[in-house]
Amino acid sequence: MRVLIVDDDDDIRTITRLSLTTVGGLDVVEAADGRAAVDAALCDRPDLILLDVMMPEMDGVQTLAALRSHGPIARIPVVFLTAKALQSEIDRLLSFNVAAVFVKPFDPLTLADRLREVERRIRLAQSPSGALESSRPYS
């Protein structure tokens, strides 16, 4: 499974990469902003995109819209990663019909498993989009 990590924070990208590759055994590509994310998705065709919400210039929601406006990558499942743990914010993000919303800080030892589970549920539902899961802020 190949995951595209989109986050403007270099440190978070590094931790996420180590978590998904070294611990989780996944293949990853990275992008530091929304435009780079669209380019990377078109070029590398990931199975899933882990997308930070608060980024300068293009935020996560704008990036999601840009991804969905490109036919070939429009249906790649997206998981939002947010530092805002309020339920109202999680509900707002789920309303964009993403696969899941994960709250920071995440556990790097289980992140890959959580993404695999999201991917498995999407496959089972045979629906590449849909609000299937909301990670609980305190779980």
Binding site: I15, Q87, P108
Partner: protein, 349 residues
């Protein structure tokens, strides 16, 4: 704080207003007297004050509700109370009003601030927490014993900081009136889940948890009630000596379910028993450092129980132990419905 006062007859026709009400509505008494209350308070547009009292339990018991009023073609938020009183020429009604625009704006500002702080703290914490977890797990290479000790200390303190942020956010959520789920909840299930959550902590602390008699069903938010019992159990374990017993029970009495968590700890001085439910209050200032915790657990618990229209408290004997308790209306006697629970605002208004 200036209170606007409007007096009406049974038909809702305004008979008099005080100067504060004139300022509130941005008009003069002459423009209001003789007109229906609905022209300034949309809540009365199609009902009389008497019917409003009959229909709204909170108003009927003398409580205040948040509503809207008209001023210069725009509505603004008000806090409103309504009273009926007899006079020689028939029943009359008094509506008292307070403009809460400024308070709501401040509340919004506070929520935005908490949200912003949460984000700004969580982002660096994600990097720190993630790095420490990866290092401790050995995924990035072998860890010596001394390194493991240092990493454990750093990880534990990061977790403490994170708990603090989570608890502050939780307080804010409850204060903002986040809706609670209302469904029949078995206290046996709540207690079983809560005990399961703290069992490892109890084992590490060499404290035994005993589930005594457990019964009763309440109408409430299962996750939030588990959170309350976890808070009480975690506190009891934290303040118990090694080898001590913590006992949790629930009993039904006179239409109420009472849950108790009893410990054999040092007890709480009389003058501190109410204060322990205040945010950030610790009986001993060194407790937060030595025993962990944010000082918000009991404050959050009280807010959750208040939202369920229940009560929470503590009985204690210094040197012998404390029994924390909360009471909730039993489901079949509660007369509560999901609407009633949603109406229980988070700030006690």
């Amino acid at each position: 704080m200036v209170i606007g006062l409007v007096i009406t007859g049974q038909d809702g026709i305004i008979e008099s207003v005080n100067p504060a009400a004139e300022r509130l509505f941005g008009t003069v008494s002459e423009d209001l007297v003789g007109r229906h209350l609905g022209v300034v308070l949309p809540a009365f547009a199609d009902q009389t004050p008497g019917k409003a009292l009959d229909d709204n339990r909170r108003l009927a018991i003398g409580g205040v509700v948040e509503s809207e009023a008209w001023r210069s073609g725009h509505t603004f938020p008000v806090e409103m109370a309504l009273y009926g009183f007899p006079t020689a020429s028939g029943r009359r009604f008094a509506v008292s009003l307070r403009d809460i625009s400024e308070r709501q704006a401040l509340d919004r500002l506070k929520r935005d601030f908490v949200s912003m702080v949460s984000h700004e703290l969580r982002t660096p914490l994600t990097s720190i927490h993630g790095s420490l977890r990866l290092l401790r797990s050995g995924s990035l290479g072998p860890v010596t014993s001394a390194t493991a000790t240092a990493l454990h200390i750093a990880d534990r303190n990061t977790a403490r900081l994170l708990s603090l942020i989570n608890d502050i956010l939780d307080c804010e959520r409850l204060a903002a009136g986040e809706a609670l789920q209302a469904a029949p909840v078995s206290m046996a299930t709540v207690i079983a889940h809560a005990v399961g959550s703290v069992q490892t902590f109890a084992d590490e602390s060499a404290v035994r948890i005993e589930q005594a008699h457990v019964e009763g069903t309440v109408l409430g938010d299962a996750d939030r009630l588990v959170q309350v019992v976890v808070n009480l159990l975690a506190n009891a374990i934290k303040f118990s000596p090694k080898g001590a017993l913590v006992s949790v029970a629930s009993k039904e009495r006179f239409g109420w379910i009472e849950v108790t968590v009893a410990d054999q700890g040092r007890g709480i001085p009389l003058d501190q028993r109410e204060l322990v439910f205040e945010p950030f209050h610790q009986v001993d200032r060194s407790d937060a450092r030595q025993r962990g915790g944010t000082g918000l657990g009991l404050a959050i618990s009280r807010r959750i129980i208040d939202r369920h229209r229940g009560a929470i408290g503590v009985e204690s004997v210094e040197g012998k132990g404390s029994t924390f308790w909360f009471r909730l209306p039993a489901a079949r006697a509660a007369g509560l419905d999901t609407r009633a629970l949603a109406l229980a605002s988070g700030n006690g208004r």
